[in-house]
């Protein structure tokens, strides 16, 4: 087993924590099928194995933080994809595509969400992110002068989450589901 590189290893716990989360994010995207053990994580981050236990005495605490970190990446990916665009249908569709693609690139998001939905902290994280996505959708629908923008946003957020779940199960895009989400908006208001 290779020993961890400590030549440029971050020394303080906060830097180690950031390095470990960044390493976890890389590993779950690049090799999602391989289990994320503390040993593997510390090797990838280039920190001593003790650093993991220092930052997260329990695996649950690490999983909670990894979920937050991955959800931040999903949010940032959506924001980056739609940056500079005017509100409306094109931005709404691109945001949904970006959200689904970012989730698909990170199967660990869904796996952690399913695991942590019964955990109070995990559930609170998930609720707040779903609320953020719903609000984003509501603002787009308001800009499109869609009737009942808040209610429609709430229902379509559920539809997008179901699509993400289905794509996680399938391990691939499910174009029929994406098409159903977009068709409703494409059909517009006569």
């Amino acid at each position: 087993m290779p020993s961890p590189s400590t030549a440029s290893a971050p020394a303080d716990p906060e830097s180690q924590r950031r390095a470990l989360l960044a390493a976890a994010s890389r590993l779950v995207r690049q090799k999602p099928a391989e289990p994320l053990t503390p040993t593997r994580l510390c090797q990838e981050a280039g920190v001593s194995e003790a650093a993991f236990a220092t930052n997260w005495p329990e695996a649950l605490a690490f999983e909670r933080q990894l979920l937050v970190s991955l959800l931040d990446e999903v949010r940032d990916s959506v924001a980056k994809t739609t940056l500079g665009m005017a509100p409306g249908l094109a931005r709404l569709k691109l945001a949904v595509e970006a959200y689904l693609d970012a989730n698909r690139a990170r199967p660990a998001v869904r796996a952690l969400a399913l695991k942590l939905q019964a955990d109070a902290d995990g559930a609170a994280t998930l609720r707040s992110r779903v609320a953020g996505f719903t609000l984003m959708m509501e603002m787009e629908l308001q800009a499109m002068q869609w009737p009942h923008p808040a209610a429609t946003a709430r229902l379509f957020t559920a539809a997008v989450l179901e699509t993400a779940y289905a794509e996680h199960e399938a391990g691939a895009k499910v174009p029929a589901l994406r098409d159903c989400v977009f068709r409703y908006f494409d059909n517009g208001r006569a």
Binding site: R154, L155, A159
Partner: protein
């Protein structure tokens, strides 16, 4: 003569007025059903298994209600709408029980049971949408089920019918199909 399982499950709605989901225990369920803890432990693997049974029973009741209300309706969007109304109203009528069931969805066992039931419903809705020429009717049925479940949660929190949510659902049925 009803079985012990039926007796225990029948006590569920009454127990919702006395206990939160977290307070539920085999002894309390047994006592609430006029039986004892042993009757419970010999019938159910756990409290969650019991909740799963309650969910199944609740959904069976909704299914019967929906079938009765839509028996003479022709296939298509009106029948989906009638069925949806019956589902949402049925959920509102059993609000205390639904509190337990919604809370319990966070548990994988209960979530898996609900998914199985939803799958049957989305196939039925998909068949209805297929008669109206919807592209990807099964996919649309699946999304509609996700939306109606969300609608039921919104109404559950509000404690009443939320007109805007129902209108948003009907709008999807009217505009989500073939390109106009």
């Amino acid at each position: 003569m009803s079985s012990i399982r039926d007796t225990l499950l029948a006590a569920g709605p009454q127990l919702t007025t006395r206990y939160t989901l977290a307070e539920l225990s085999p002894a309390r369920i047994g006592e609430g059903a006029g039986l004892d803890e042993r009757a419970f432990t010999e019938t159910f693997d756990s409290v969650l298994d019991y909740i799963n049974g309650l969910q199944q029973r609740f959904m069976d009741g909704l299914r019967d209600r929906i079938f009765k209300l839509t028996l003479d309706a022709p296939p298509g969007l009106l029948r989906v709408k009638l069925a949806s109304e019956a589902y949402l109203s049925g959920c509102l009528e059993q609000r205390a029980l639904r509190s337990w069931l919604i809370e319990a969805r966070a548990q994988p066992l209960v979530a898996a049971g609900l998914r199985k039931q939803n799958q049957v419903y989305w196939l039925i809705v998909g068949s209805e949408l297929a008669t109206k020429g919807w592209p990807h009717p099964q996919a649309a049925g699946r999304l509609y089920l996700a939306m109606i479940n969300e609608a039921s949660v919104v109404e559950h929190r509000a404690g009443q019918v939320v007109t805007s949510v129902r209108e948003a659902l009907w709008d999807f049925l009217e505009r989500g199909g073939p390109r106009t």
